[in-house]
Symmetry: C2
Subunit: 296 residues, 2 copies
């Protein structure tokens, strides 16, 4: 079995930039030519075509894609079939697939969610929520997927990019750590025995680009953890913010981050007419250049 962190690093090396494209398809925002009135079929069929187009357009510029499970689940069984299709197509095109599902439940239930992520969707990694404690993350790490050749990973929510996260994650504990730093310590412990050949672990952390002021302290607590960094682009995070998050870390350097953007890439087209695939591809290429300069 190839370790998740090594597979990820290999893919990032191949592309030359640690870029992840978030697939958050929302029907109302799709290019006009894909809308139901134009092509027939329902909204889920339109979303499938849109995702296929984005996957093709970003292939040379992104090592990873991150489908947002909620955007598919809202359509029920048909949406989940579409998600399954998009995950499969992405893997066929060479992407690493991070299922953004933010699951978290007691251990016996977490095993079922691991089966969802790693068998039903056959994703390479999944985002998980830590509020129930570290024992609820371990089932994801111990799951034996049906396809055992590809090692799997998780990204634990540590410091999220949304404005209201401060009301929980920034609070100080009696021992001096913030809540986010306490979760970071759990992540480091869980990852300690799960290192790949390059020293990075299969237990990653979500650390928003909108919270760069916290990144150095979090990196110090998680030196060998891959940071999945959302918030770049539409949420306001900039290349400079990402630079501040990469630079404090002597190790593991540029291979310890994965910068993800969704809306600023997948909706980077002129609303009416035009070559939407080309515009999405150009936006992904621009992001890959900017992030590559910061990280390499």
């Amino acid at each position: 079995m190839t370790h998740f962190a090594d597979r990820l690093a290999h893919n990032i090396d191949r592309i030359g930039s640690p870029v992840c494209v978030g697939l958050d398809p929302v029907y109302d925002k799709l290019p006009g030519e894909l809308k139901c009135g134009t092509t027939g079929g329902g909204p889920v069929a339109a979303i499938a075509r849109f995702c296929e187009g984005v996957l093709d357009a970003c292939r040379a510029h992104a090592a990873v894609v991150k489908p947002q499970s909620a955007c598919f689940e809202r359509y029920g069984p048909e949406g989940l079939a579409c998600l399954q299709h998009v995950c499969r197509r992405a893997r066929e095109l060479g992407y690493i697939v991070v299922l953004d599902a933010k699951r978290g439940d007691i251990g016996v239930t977490a095993e079922h969610y691991a089966a969802l992520a790693f068998d039903a969707m056959d994703a390479d990694a999944v985002t998980v929520s830590p509020y129930l404690g570290p024992d609820t993350i371990e089932p994801f790490l111990n799951h034996q997927p049906a396809d055992a050749s590809r090692g799997r990973g998780v990204f634990v929510l540590v410091r999220t990019s949304n404005p209201g996260s401060d009301a929980v994650q920034s609070l100080a504990l009696a021992d001096g750590r913030t809540v986010a730093e306490m979760i970071a310590d759990h992540v480091a412990v869980l990852g300690g025995s799960r290192r790949g050949q390059r020293g990075l672990t299969s237990v990653g952390a979500v650390v928003g680009a909108t919270k760069p002021q916290d990144a150095a302290a979090l990196r110090a607590r998680m030196p060998d953890t891959i940071f999945l960094i959302p918030g770049y682009g539409a949420q306001g995070g900039t290349a400079d913010d990402v630079r501040r998050m990469v630079r404090p870390a002597a190790t593991p350097g540029a291979r310890g981050v994965l910068v993800t953007a969704s809306r600023s890439v997948i909706y980077a087209f002129t609303p009416e007419g035009g070559d939407w695939r080309g515009e999405v591809s150009a936006a992904a290429a621009k992001m890959a250049r900017e992030i590559g300069q910061v990280c390499n």
Copy 2:
């Protein structure tokens, strides 16, 4: 629109006991007569028949059912179609349906999860995870469901029943509150403007029966919040534990709790042969009596 808390109270009054049966179907545990080798069809078909049987068996003894989304999602689109079927059947039989999905994501994404819970599954309430902050819970509260006649609710994870939850939720903040108490304060604020006619709010809290020592302090912070109490039965919580959780609360008294059990009810049958529906029904009746004595 009828307020969620009033609808729930009405259902509890009708049954006479605040009992919720958790639907956590696991194929290997099903009665032999439902297994594939016996009846044909795949595991999801067997799970559907099992859930239908449990819903019929518990009808007179439980006001609420709580399908565990993970147990269905692990089967992909087919599993989600089964969940949809089980939710619909439960509502037809008069149950209030709490979808146990523990979702939590940034606001724009939380709206999609609200659509999953309240439109695709048409559930009456959904469990949500608070780590991303209160702004990520509000989209569930503000969602306008397609069927607007039934007010909807959420149950926020505050103090969960699993052993490892102490490693996050019991920690002391610098201001003297525990992490769970801090989340409880967010729940009270979110619920403040969302009260039904009986004074209870549509923003409930999950507080495990395995943590009764914390219940009084949490109740003091959330006087008008419905406590969804898991952990009774298979996880070790007893009627005495539930009594300790109900009694400290002068208000709202017995209508402010909803005690949920899954494995100790739905798997309460002799493994080989016998009347499994009757045994499940008897287990639900016993629980309804025990909880009714404690709460009324």
